[in-house]
Amino acid sequence: MSTEAPRAVMARAFRETTLSLIGLFQVYEVEPDLACATADVLAKLFRRHLRHVPANGDTSRRCPLHALVDEMDQVLGD
């Protein structure tokens, strides 16, 4: 999908994908390392397609997938 696509539609699709992964990872109790790696990959794709620069927030002790959903919510709220 190109970057010309509406940001909101794309951000919403990324958000639903991330939520689905959070749910599946919870059901299958995956290792935190896999959740971190998945969040990294998704975040890179999300930021590249939406040309988004993440705000510097306190992400210590937080699941990176949860933080990524918050970041997507920021884009949707803009």
Binding site: R15, G23, V69
Partner: protein, 289 residues
């Protein structure tokens, strides 16, 4: 004595004495000083069955060691040992329950699951003494809370106006999976359940709350189990504080979700809903597909 309850414990007694659990007990003996003088779990159960007051300290230490073991390494074996050890208390409790709101087998299960729930949540780090008494009190409270609620609902069903019944059903929606019910392991069912939650409630929830609701609604995990997985390093005081915060967040999220899921309830008027009833006025009648 209820024969099913007695039969259940007879089976549990046989199970805990099985040689296949010797290794588990030997490993636990390395971890707990209270087990040092005992060569097998039968010896532990023998001490706990001693009704005299002279061995209070020893029995207290053994109870705490058994609870710690079940909390740290939850297994059917340690659950069975605790149930057998506390059988006299559980049996007395079971026979104090009157009423027709729950079937006899359900009452047996209620007593057992309530006790194991209390064991799972028991705050060993809080420095409490008289563990056996506290287990009994907490289990009684848990059991009678459920029995009273069922009794009230039965009364409402029999004598109350239909509007009250509808309100009572709405308050429980969406329902939790029963404790211990495993999450769907079939990948297709799992994907369907997660997709349903994303589709209908995803927009209302942040990532952390979605994770929490997946754990309770889809996986059937207790909030305390969710907390252990999400934040395993908390000390006891912080854990209690975070637990209360998560519990409140969980309740608020459920309340927020209800309107969004309302059209999926049975009976529903929308063809896209989950309800498979042919007639919206007769929810018991399930259409063949």
């Amino acid at each position: 004595m209820k024969s099913t309850f007695r039969r259940l414990f007879a089976e549990l007694r046989a199970e805990v004495r099985s040689p296949k659990h010797c290794a588990a007990f030997a490993e636990a003996r390395e971890r707990h000083n209270a087990f040092q003088d005992h060569g097998a779990v039968a010896s532990v159960l023998g001490v706990l069955a001693d009704g005299g007051p002279d061995r209070y300290a020893e029995k207290e230490a053994l109870s705490r060691a058994l609870i710690a073991e079940q909390q740290a390494h939850p297994s059917a074996f340690w659950a069975a040992v605790l149930l057998v050890a506390y059988f006299p208390m559980l049996s007395r409790l079971r026979h104090r329950i009157y009423g027709h709101a729950l079937a006899s087998d359900d009452l047996d299960q209620l007593v057992v699951t309530s006790f194991l729930g209390v064991v799972a949540d028991y705050p060993l780090d809080a420095g409490l003494d008289r563990t056996a008494m506290r287990l009994r009190q907490r289990t009684e409270r848990q059991v009678f809370r459920v029995v009273c609620a069922e009794q009230e609902e039965l009364l409402l069903f029999r004598s109350g106006p239909p509007e009250n019944l509808a309100d009572s059903e709405r308050a429980r929606w969406p329902e939790f999976r029963h404790n211990g019910t495993p999450a769907p392991r079939n990948p297709i069912d799992t994907a369907d359940a997660v997709a349903l939650l994303v589709e209908h409630a995803g927009e209302l929830l942040d990532g952390e709350t979605f994770d929490l609701l997946t754990a309770t609604l889809i996986c059937g995990r207790r909030i305390s189990s969710y907390l252990d997985g999400a934040l395993p390093d908390l000390d006891a005081r912080e854990r209690r504080r975070v637990y209360q915060r998560i519990k409140r967040r969980h309740s608020r999220a459920l309340a927020r979700m209800r309107p969004a899921l309302e059209h999926l309830r049975c009976p529903c008027g929308e063809p896209a809903g989950l309800c498979v009833c042919r007639d919206a006025d007769q929810p018991e009648e399930v259409a063949e597909r």
